[in-house]
Symmetry: C2
Subunit: 206 residues, 2 copies
């Protein structure tokens, strides 16, 4: 029991604050604000929210094809006939899929690795869904895999590993463009990014 908890005088309150403060980015004071906020909401709403957390954890599935979060065995993206099954975008996490979906620029399908090769964190190729990706390639019909991993050391290592594995199949391997971001100032762009953006210069199409 910390100095802060000693002012609670209610086990119920303390348990709720403890629960909230386990969430990422939530300190004890924010957790308290959240718990006191719950008390002002209708019982039915709080019941529904609590159940939503529990159901999410207990009932959500991972797509058997691409490993994306899903309510069903195979996710809506993998079953959507309008999406190009010949193009697979490989990403690290569920959140990356969501970020790319928000752009509205990608109409292929995904493969979620569930992490990235990182010897320091003890994560090797076998901890990721790389075998499942290779299996997808083995079934044929895939023409291109687009590697959309971070530009960190681990991301580059994983991209390299995947490109070696995928080279056994007749697929084109691409990666998302690296360069200076829209709205970024040159003077605040790091040398690595700026250097690469100059090397990979493109025709100017006004």
């Amino acid at each position: 029991m910390s100095w802060f908890d000693s002012s609670f005088h209610s086990t119920l309150l303390q348990q709720a604050v403890d629960a909230f403060s386990r969430l990422p980015g939530v300190g004890k004071r924010s957790a308290l604000r959240m718990a006191l906020y719950l008390l002002k909401q209708p019982c039915e709403d709080v019941e529904r929210w609590g159940q939503a957390f529990i159901r999410l954890r207990n009932e959500v599935k991972y797509c058997r094809v691409c490993n994306m979060l899903s309510d069903t065995d195979i996710c809506p993206i993998c079953t959507d006939p309008e999406r190009d099954s010949a193009l697979i975008c490989v990403v690290e996490s569920v959140r990356d899929v969501m970020s790319i979906e928000l752009t509205g620029q990608f109409r292929g399908r995904y493969h979620v690795l569930g992490g990235i090769i990182s010897p320091i964190d003890g994560i090797g190729p076998n901890d990721l869904t790389i075998d499942a990706l290779i299996e997808r390639l083995g079934k044929g019909g895939v023409e291109e895999i687009l590697l959309a991993l971070s530009t960190t050391m681990e991301g580059e290592t994983t991209s390299f590993y995947l490109s070696r594995k995928a080279s056994a199949f007749p697929v084109r391997i691409t990666t998302i463009a690296r360069g200076v971001g829209f709205g970024d100032e040159l003077e605040s762009t790091d040398e690595m990014t700026l250097g690469r953006a100059i090397q990979n210069r493109q025709p100017f199409n006004p």
Copy 2:
């Protein structure tokens, strides 16, 4: 459905994110981070947390004497024989009780008003627990009430109203000291506070 929600592809995930984003200070993106965090925690933990929220809302009580949050009909502070029942500190909210408890400087009891008189928000004296406070004073045994309300217009109005009501009883009415905070610089203290601090100057005891 907002542009952000369209990238979810999972109703379970969306419901959990909606629930988190109802919390104070939590936006859609933080809510998503929280939901994805839940997925990585043991089922039992998530179950316990969800139940903690629901139980807090359904089972918590308000002390019949002081209106503080409590697991029992009368709160631990009101039943603690070591605390001075002749001294009542009047505060706006549960959180104020907790703030004062954290100082460790107060050994009396509390009275939580449950708000503050604010005509703009449509909150009048009858919406607060003022009658219950007067009833406590009427029972006798109280020697001092310490008004610990905000220094806002509403706080001052409420303090004034309470002091008028309490003046019918043989109690001393006090208020917490106002002045320059410890660690505050004079140049960044507002004139109102600094002016009052000069008026209420105190003997220097090094």
